[in-house]
């Protein structure tokens, strides 16, 4: 639960954003980032369905590489990420 997943913002509608990672799309809440400017194309760290911080594309990519290695080694991901 502690880890969180980086996702790319596709579309924003109020506090809701459609985000994508690895071909999987998900509805996430931007409620906690309302003091920051988030736009489509940005990367955000998602924790239990909520974006908690913005990230650079490099940070998102390096986090995903680590997840890839973990998935390869461990089987299906922790569902509450």
């Amino acid at each position: 639960m502690c880890l969180g997943i980086p996702m790319k913002v596709l579309q924003i509608d109020g506090f809701n954003a459609r985000c994508e990672a690895k071909g999987v799309e998900r509805e996430v809440s931007l409620f906690m980032l309302q003091d920051e400017e988030v736009k489509p194309g940005d990367y955000v760290m998602i924790h239990v369905g909520y974006a908690i911080q913005k990230m650079t594309p490099q940070e998102a990519r390096s986090a995903w590489e680590i997840f890839d290695q973990m998935l390869a080694a461990d089987g299906p991901p922790d569902t509450t990420l």
Binding site: M1, C2, L3, G4, R26, E27, V28, S29, F31, M32, L33, Q34, D35, M45, H47, V48, G49, Y50, I52, Q53, M55, E59, R61, S62, A63, E65, I66, M70, A73, D74, D78, T79, T80
Partner: protein
């Protein structure tokens, strides 16, 4: 690109390891507690311990939210389903945690109980909207990063007048737990555990900021370095802690300056402050009753508090006999000290909470096979 990055990471890891070996004073021991399960996982997954000299030790702390929830609270959740016929919404990690009487949420779900795994508090709200004639309870657990989403859901339920929704709050606080460990007799009386410094969890800190750690860094004279979850972050932070200890400093430093500020995410904090207040005391697995270490729903939102709506009783239940989770969570014992480890207790059939979550120390020991390796080898090269 990927291979370039991997190469860079490996090279950086070797450089960091060399710096740590050079700076760690062979005359002393460095016991560094990683509080958070995310760090525990990274350390095992990438064999970070193997890159450390033999006098630098990682002590695993109680920062896995699933692990620290006491059996009694899971029994409470089961009662909510069995006695009040609610739909219980829970994060997936909780499903397999053993409760009293050989039960678990997963087992009673298999027996027909209406338990739904959710990814987000928004899913729980949706289930409540879709089932207006059923009571829907969200089983809320976690540290400071998971609390604001629960607060959002409570406020939303109030706005929408979603009367069939309520929250069973088990949210806990990181600084209170660290302080409790430092005040425990095992640490204070120089007995079985010594902890010289802490890794602070980065995501929790991005919400609460670095300020809450300042008090105990000063009071207990222990350095804290807020660290990201990647293996290089952990190594870099270990080096920062070693430097502080060598120089006799005990400050709060931030390896994760990218996202953690002293103030934290004030929007999230004000949401939490609006909905939650401190509990006078809360039971943790391993730590027992810890004063002011958890959050309860404020009176203004009492209508959405499942503990009030269903008169949830205090249950004190004990762990499975032989399970050493309580001592492991305090850093007093290791998973391999448990007689059930790997024999009766495995991730497929967990006896205690530390074997359930991938962030738990027993699951990490088991999955990454550290228990099969010799305690030390400074030669492993593929760790990062």
């Amino acid at each position: 690109m990927r291979y370039v990055d991997e190469f860079r990471q490996r090279e950086l890891a070797q450089q960091l390891a060399a710096a740590i070996r050079k700076e760690a004073d062979p005359q002393r021991q460095y016991n560094l507690m990683e509080f958070c399960g995310g760090h525990t996982h990274a350390i095992f997954r990438y064999g970070v311990q193997d890159l450390m000299p033999s006098n630098v030790h990682f002590v695993h702390g109680p920062g896995c939210p699933v692990c620290v929830l006491p059996v009694g609270r899971i029994d409470n959740a089961i009662q909510l389903v069995e006695q009040h016929d609610v739909i219980l919404c829970t994060y997936g990690d909780m499903l397999r945690v053993p409760a009293s009487g050989r039960k678990s949420l997963l087992k009673i779900k298999a027996g027909g109980a209406d338990i739904r795994m959710v990814y987000s508090t928004q899913d729980a709200l949706r289930i409540a909207r879709d089932n207006p004639d059923r009571q829907v309870v969200f089983f809320a657990i976690g540290f400071e990063t998971t609390t604001p989403p629960t607060a959002v859901a409570i406020k939303q339920a109030r706005t929408e007048a979603l009367d069939n929704f309520s929250v069973f709050s088990n949210h806990v606080l990181t600084p209170a737990a660290i302080q409790n460990i430092l005040e425990s007799p095992e640490v204070r009386e120089m007995g079985s555990v010594s902890i010289d410094g802490f890794f602070g969890p980065s995501h929790v800190s991005s919400i609460i900021g670095s300020r809450p750690y300042e008090f105990f860094a000063e009071e207990f004279q222990r350095p804290v370095v807020i660290a990201g979850f990647e293996p290089l972050d952990v190594m870099q932070s270990a080096l920062m802690l070693i430097r502080q200890l060598n120089e006799g400093r005990h400050e709060v430093e931030n390896e994760y300056t990218r996202v953690v500020t002293r103030e934290g995410n004030t929007k999230a904090q004000s949401l939490v402050a609006e909905v939650f207040e401190l509990r006078r005391t809360f039971e943790w697995r391993g730590l027992g009753l810890v004063p002011y270490s958890a959050l309860q729903i404020k009176k203004a939102f009492a209508g959405l508090d499942a503990e009030q709506r269903f008169h949830v009783p205090a249950i004190s239940a004990s762990d499975v006999k032989g399970c050493e989770c309580p001592s492991i969570l305090r850093g007093v014992k290791r998973p391999t000290d448990c007689k059930l480890f790997g024999t009766v207790c495995t991730p497929e059939n967990p006896m205690g909470s530390c074997m359930v979550s991938s962030e738990g120390a027993c699951a990490a020991y088991w999955s990454y096979g550290r228990f099969r390796q010799p305690e030390k080898s400074d030669t492993r090269e593929d760790a990062a």
